[in-house]
Symmetry: none
């Protein structure tokens, strides 16, 4: 029997070095979005480009290929779910993806998207799409180059980009679940509109002092299980969660004194991501078993805590007394049911991150369609505002008044994240499936939430999803955990169970 201990240990050492470099870049990326002074943008782009370059060099070192080949030929990877087999499988995937990209392209993408994000911030502020358009053009050219370099078999270039975020997923498969979800969503939105019922959402626009919002958000994130001894909450233009590694996970949100839901549900959402990061096997840092398995699964965690838990009647029956203490001016005369109805209003709106649980998926489908056209070259960057507004009107029946509320609202394209958006809707579907499976094992989740008992769900997620890292890819994980393949049905059931009574359907 070949002695493979030495090559495997050497491989792990190399993989951990690459991860450490990536985690250093993550700190600089977080700082760029939270605290970077304006004049430091160019230097930060140089720093990040440099780290990306040396990270790429190390990740594509021929030595890794040799070690992988030796292990792959060793006959020791028989059990495909064993730690060694998983780490080798995922290292092979990363190595092959990375070696297909020339270093020049990696550095150029890092540099252009770093500057592109700064340009996007300014363009969005000024509602000035033409100021961003040249960056979008450059980024698209680079992403098409990336897709060509990665390859996509007999699929479409978009497959190569999607696969970066949702390993193994194909554009056609996503289209196949999106179609019935869209039909069900449009039907539900129509029924809600025709119900004529409209909650009083003005209570959410009262004065909610920002310090109190921050405190209440941290209280809620702590309740659901985010550990602030191993993390933080800061302010960023475009909220995100970044796990730097063991013991350090950063959440961000943004506050509006006269709009309660934005920061609060944003905080729960990012805390959901953070709980996934904090639930990883910390000892396995730097290897596949210590990493989250896909963005879709990541999003299933954030959306579950934000919507399935955070917008439930049971959650608010527990936290509303504290909300009243934090916001006496806004909430002292508001019954909890009115508040619950307000945070669950369903209506077409312009901003994806503020959309309700039902219409949200339509926002994703719009972006999914547009970015497929952009990558395919069927849509030109200059035509994005018109195409966005046309499709938006078709999906939602309303037209964005400006590009800040239209095609400039998201950071993704400026950051080069094409293929990322569909993972949000995949996450909603996975969340529906996991939530049903958890309830099967744990019993009445709403009774637990009403008693302030969120740890059983958190620990169920830790056990079934988080601690497994990349052991299973998303499609297999959902089958292992729920016994069923990816499906929109549990999500649609959840939406009806919740919104039918709210709107008297």
């Amino acid at each position: 029997m070949t002695d493979v201990k030495t090559p495997y240990d050497e491989l792990l050492t190399e993989l951990k070095a690459v991860s450490l470099l990536g985690s250093c870049a993550a700190v600089l990326g977080w700082d760029e979005q939270t605290y970077l002074p304006p004049a430091g943008a160019e230097h930060r782009a140089n720093q990040l480009g440099f780290l990306a370059g040396i990270g790429h060099e190390r990740a594509t070192s021929p030595r890794i290929d040799e070690l992988l080949a030796e292990l792959e030929g060793s006959g020791l990877l028989g059990d495909p779910d064993s730690a060694m087999a998983v780490n080798v499988r995922e290292a092979r995937r990363s190595y092959d993806r990375a070696t297909k990209l020339p270093r020049r392209l990696v550095e150029e993408i890092s540099r252009v998207t770093s500057l592109g994000q700064q340009a996007w911030v300014a363009a969005r502020k000024e509602k000035n799409f033409p100021a961003f358009q040249p960056w979008l053009e450059q980024i698209l050219t680079l992403k098409r180059e990336e897709a060509a370099a990665i390859g996509y078999g007999d699929g479409v270039p978009y497959d190569a980009l999607l696969d970066d975020y949702e390993p193994g997923a194909k554009t056609a498969d996503v289209q196949a679940v999106f179609a019935p979800l869209r039909d069900a969503t449009v039907q539900l939105v129509t029924a809600i509109r025709e119900s004529g019922k409209r909650p009083d959402v003005s209570i959410l626009e009262r004065r909610y002092p920002i310090d109190a919002q921050r405190e209440f958000g941290i209280e809620a994130a702590t309740k659901i299980g985010f550990d602030f001894n191993a993390g933080r909450l800061d302010v960023a233009h475009h909220p995100f969660c970044s796990g730097f590694g063991p013991g350090d996970c950063r959440l961000t949100t943004r506050y509006d004194e006269h709009h309660f839901p934005g920061a609060f549900f944003g905080t729960l959402h990012e805390a959901g991501h953070g709980i996934y990061e904090q639930g990883l096997d910390q000892e396995a840092f730097g290897t596949a078993l210590g990493e989250t398995t896909s963005l879709g699964i990541h999003e299933s965690q954030s959306r579950m805590w934000e919507n399935f838990v955070g917008r439930s009647r049971a959650f608010w029956s527990h936290v509303f007394p504290s909300a009243r203490e934090h916001f006496p001016e806004a909430l002292s005369n508001v019954p909890v049911d009115d508040f619950y109805a307000a945070i669950n209003d369903v209506r077409p709106s312009f901003i994806r991150v503020e959309a309700d649980e039902v219409t949200y998926n339509l926002h994703i489908m719009l972006r999914f369609e547009l970015e497929q056209s952009l990558i395919a070259g069927d849509l030109q960057p200059a035509d994005v505002p018109a195409a966005w507004n046309e499709k938006f009107t078709q999906f939602f029946g309303i037209t964005p008044p400006d590009d800040a509320q239209g095609c400039l609202q998201d950071i993704h394209w400026s950051a080069g994240l094409f293929g990322y958006f569909p993972t949000y809707a995949l996450g909603n579907m996975y969340a529906g499936q996991f939530f049903e499976a958890a309830a099967k094992e744990l019993g009445d989740l709403n009774a637990l939430f009403a008693a302030g008992d969120f740890l059983p769900l958190k620990e169920w997620l830790n056990r079934n999803i988080h601690c497994r890292g990349k052991q299973y890819r998303a499609d297999r994980l959902v089958e292992v955990v729920t016994g069923e393949p990816l499906s929109q049905e549990p999500l649609v059931r959840h939406l009806h169970a919740k919104f039918d009574p709210l709107f008297g359907l």
Copy 2:
């Protein structure tokens, strides 16, 4: 003529890569001191250790030696003040210092000082010098080894250590200026004590709300020319300034609601460092011409803005109305002259970092003398407390009640920073010289300050000191700028001009 363009360009590329790595580590170091969650400490140490390792590897690459040798033999470095000659000279110095130390010694110093600092924290807390003594012994042995490896010609081992912080400075030269400075200081302190005058310092211990302190500190730092578009001010337990590179310089301070001077003068001090960093030639980042020239010169900038400007009567006649608006409760009934007297109280005290402008230098001289004896082996670690207290009593006329207020107060020795202390007092003397030279050119500086006009001084420093980077080492820079070699006289003149009237001498 040899074509040296290519090796020089290659050298600059390598030097910039090393600087970029260092600037990434600086971001992580800043975050460690400002925002790192407690559980992230170990991972951050791993990240920083990893970056230090690859930085060292790159900085000691034999290719740099080859490039330097080629350039040194090219005959193109005839003008020693040319950009190429300066960059090659300083790159050679860094390369030789980095490669003269065996890796084992570097790692051992890192390990022992890391543990030594932990031992020091505990020993200081428990006022227990014997608990720290074995670490001091080990550290001294290692620092003597370091001095031997670096070399010191026909000088003393301490020269090799001092040179790390103040390139080119010799122990004997520092002794030569410290002796008359000590005599003048002791004389002035005695006269002040005998004057019997004592300002009412209790006004500085009133309530100064932290938000207002922060706002007022930023206002003052902006006034003296720190650019917040290219920098920030955050909170850290141990205040520092970190220049990350072009457009990004971070200041930190710490607030005490009932002690005004700490945060305010700390902010001006760090802003002085920051103005130096911001005044560097940003295009020259990564080369000697884009770097500060020595710790002594750096300190001359921070101490000038903190003391020569920030504690002047003229400065306060301009900013006191704003101070009253920020702190109405504390200052509405305080005449500006009383406030000015309070922030300029002079009295012997035990803690260096809280010392006034006059006695501060005595704290430095005491440490300078003791650490020379320690490195030379004339003083044994076991005898440090007795030697400290004896010398302290001789210098200050008071005796530390315990070692926490005596020889255990500073982190420096536990961190292996022998040779660092004298740069603080050198900075004060350089500040005196630069301030006199600036006044010769700009006229009555106090009249400018009283009118809120700080930019002439800032721009004079930009022109004469900052934009030169490492073109001249400290000793030569002071001659080029002031026409005189290093001297204590301008500082002594400044102290008399200020404190004689304050104490009626």
